[in-house]
């Protein structure tokens, strides 16, 4: 068995992904206070399904471990992620493609604790309701941790008159031999794109739907 559960004093649930295994987990299946250890060269795909969360998830990535978090279904509540890249060549990719329907707060802390680690946060949100979206990302690269790559991007499409968005992309970098960047773009849907599709025979509603689905597609 590639995954086994145990209990630690600090978390309700302690999971270990054994070395060189590939696993897929759903966040609904984890307890609200979980610690996951990803062994050497192992790969974990973690999927956030629809639901209500008040979760604290701590992930530890060892040498060459890969973590991919995929967020595609609307959820409500608060999730606190702590992702520690403790050994070289570990990598995290966090992909979000969400049509926001409920209030959600996502706090993602990524700690690069070893050289040659990489992190990528790639978020796209559509806001069609006035629900509150909060995304707070914190990427830390301490002194002497070299050759790291950290990128975060967030693009938000505004389709409601009363959006409530708070985006805080923090970078804390103490080394000169790593690259870190972030970018955010918040904008409404472009009239010319809607017009183009309407000239091809689509109704206004269908045109917006098509643009939304294209925007949220995972490439």
């Amino acid at each position: 068995m590639a995954i086994y559960n145990t209990t630690t004093p600090s978390s309700d649930n302690y999971l270990v992904i054994k070395s060189r295994n590939q696993e897929k987990l759903n966040l609904q299946d984890l307890s609200s206070n979980s610690l996951i250890h990803i062994g050497e060269q192992a790969t974990l795909e973690l999927v956030l399904g629809a639901g209500e969360y008040t979760h604290n998830i701590h992930l530890i990535l060892t040498k060459g471990a890969k973590l991919e978090i995929l967020e595609q279904e609307t959820w409500s509540g608060t999730i606190n992620w702590t992702i520690d890249l403790i050994e070289p060549y570990s990598a995290i990719k966090y992909i979000t493609r969400l049509d926001i329907q409920t209030d959600s707060k996502n706090i993602i802390r990524i700690n690069h604790q070893a050289a040659y680690t990489s992190s990528q946060i790639d978020s796209r949100y559509c806001l069609t309701t006035s629900n509150k979206l909060t995304q707070h990302t914190i990427i830390q690269i301490p002194e002497a941790i070299t050759h790291c790559e950290a990128t975060q991007s967030a693009e938000i499409l505004l389709l409601t008159d009363r959006p409530q968005i708070q985006i805080i992309p923090e970078l804390r970098v103490s080394t000169d031999n790593s690259n870190a960047s972030h970018g955010v773009s918040i904008h409404p849907i472009r009239d010319r794109d809607i017009f183009y599709l309407m000239t091809r025979g689509l109704s206004h509603r269908k045109a917006i739907q098509l643009l939304k689905s294209g925007f949220l597609e995972v490439k």
């Binding site: 505004l158 389709l159 959006p163 708070q166 985006i167 923090e170 000169d176 972030h182 918040i186």
Partner: protein, 459 residues
């Protein structure tokens, strides 16, 4: 370039100074010495009450080294304000001569104010600007001569006295500073400048700058600041309020080069009416700790704010700077460009806020933060916050943290430069957008200051 220009102190003995620490009696004494109207004393005392009730900030750089009980909150130089440099006492004049202020006034400025510790010692405005109705006075004089105007604008709607802990302190003990009023439609072609010099050991400087640009007017205002290096920590907690009325344009430039044991906890804010423009240009080189986030509140349609900042954090310095823009009215625009250089164990942080409120439809904001790390151990943090509450808004934000490229250094060295020269040239290129926006003589000064910091560290 010689750093001693900034670090040397004068032995000028002031005519009055309060004991270290802040009490109600100190505030009453300041107000009495300045012969202020009763409403100003009441405002100071209310601010002091708030200050006592408010805890220190629980975010940002550490203020542990700042002993507020040891600060001397008020110190008057032994002179009256002069309108010719010849009337300024020799030892004070020498300080400003070394800083090049009288020479700059002759060549390129429309008016100059110079503050030494708590009081202005020199103020002068060109006659043609006086004839156009421009008022350029020291803040204490303005309070006596234009009480209605000051009462209407001073720490009311732009920076209220309860804004935060250090503004409460500022409102309690403010002294000196600049008051500028530009009448409707008047364009002040040559910049006005004020220079603030803190000479006293364990001193505090709390100057207040109030700028009112009436409808359709235009102004460029420059502030320079420096202090000598003493053993005890000093505190600068100034306040800058700018009112940009309909269609007016204000360019505010400040080069802050306080000594490295100064805590620079400054507050600057502009209220911008319809079609008005505020341009902030801030250079922060000195200070041990800086917390400075110029803020624009765009409250009229098509109001605009452009903010350009450069900070340098060297050994032992923590420069926590940024910019805030609150879009309150429709079709408002803002740009923020923040550049920072960190060296040795210096920490530079960008802390910013862009808020687009529900009424600010059609508003746009673009933010760029670039950080250059000169060595391992130097630190750069970014804390940008974006809040959007309207559907018809566009925000773009980008940030990059990186080092001086080895390939670029190698390329320049292969053209005959030393490594130090190559690095300096790359840094000069990095800060070029800021330098280009400065008047020529300040651009040269900024370039030299940064070169000096880099050279100091290399030697």
């Amino acid at each position: 370039m010689d750093r001693s220009v900034y670090d040397n102190y004068s032995l000028h003995k002031g005519k009055f100074q309060t004991n270290p620490g802040l009490t109600r009696e100190v505030i009453e004494e300041i107000s009495k010495q300045k012969n202020e109207p009763s409403w100003m004393l009441a405002k100071r005392l209310r601010a002091f009450e708030l200050y006592q009730q408010t805890p220190l900030l629980n975010w940002g750089p550490s203020l542990d080294g700042l002993d507020l009980e040891k600060i001397i909150y008020f110190s008057r130089p032994d002179t009256e304000e002069a309108t010719t440099w010849a009337d300024v006492p020799q030892d004070i004049r020498d300080t400003f001569d070394k800083l090049g202020i009288p020479e700059a006034e002759k060549q390129a400025l429309g008016g100059v104010g110079a503050q030494y510790d708590s009081d202005m010692v020199y103020h002068n405005l060109k006659q043609d600007l006086k004839d156009k109705g421009v008022i350029f006075e020291n803040m204490d004089t303005a309070l006596q001569e234009y009480p209605d105007l000051v009462q209407k604008y001073f720490m009311t709607q732009c920076i209220p006295i309860n804004d935060h802990k250090f503004i409460m302190l500022h409102a309690s003990v403010w002294s000196g500073g600049t008051f500028i009023y530009v009448p409707k439609g008047v364009e002040v072609e040559l910049p006005l400048q004020a220079y603030f010099r803190m000479n006293m050991q364990a001193g505090g400087q709390f100057e207040h700058t109030l700028i009112i640009a009436d409808e359709g007017s235009k102004l460029t205002y420059i502030e320079g600041c420096s202090a000598p290096r003493w053993n005890a920590s000093a505190l600068h907690a100034g306040g800058v309020e700018i009112f940009v009325h309909k269609g007016a344009q204000v360019k505010y430039i400040s080069i802050e080069n306080w000594s490295k044991n100064t805590y620079n906890l400054n507050t600057k804010r502009a209220l911008v009416d319809a079609h008005g423009t505020i341009e902030w240009l801030n250079g922060n080189m000195g200070s041990g700790v800086t917390m400075l986030y110029p803020c624009s509140i765009l409250r009229g349609e098509y109001a605009r704010s452009d903010s350009l900042g450069i900070t340098f954090a060297g050994e032992g310095q923590e420069q926590d700077t940024g910019s805030k823009v609150i879009h309150v009215a429709p079709y408002t625009k803002s740009t923020i460009s923040a550049k920072s250089i960190s060296q040795d164990n210096g920490v530079s942080s960008y802390r910013g806020l862009v808020k687009i409120t529900p009424k600010a439809i059609g508003s746009e904001s673009h933010i760029v933060c670039d950080a250059l790390l000169m060595n391992d151990g130097a630190k750069s943090d970014t804390y940008p916050v974006m809040q959007v509450e309207t559907s018809d808004a566009q925000i773009g934000h980008e940030a990059r943290v990186g080092k001086v490229g080895e390939e670029e250094v190698f390329y320049l060295m292969s053209r005959g430069m030393s490594e130090g020269e190559a690095r300096k040239m790359i840094v000069n290129g990095f800060i070029e957008p800021v330098v280009k926006a400065l008047p020529l003589e300040y651009a040269i000064e900024l370039n030299r200051l940064i070169e000096l910091e880099i050279t100091d560290s290399a030697t």
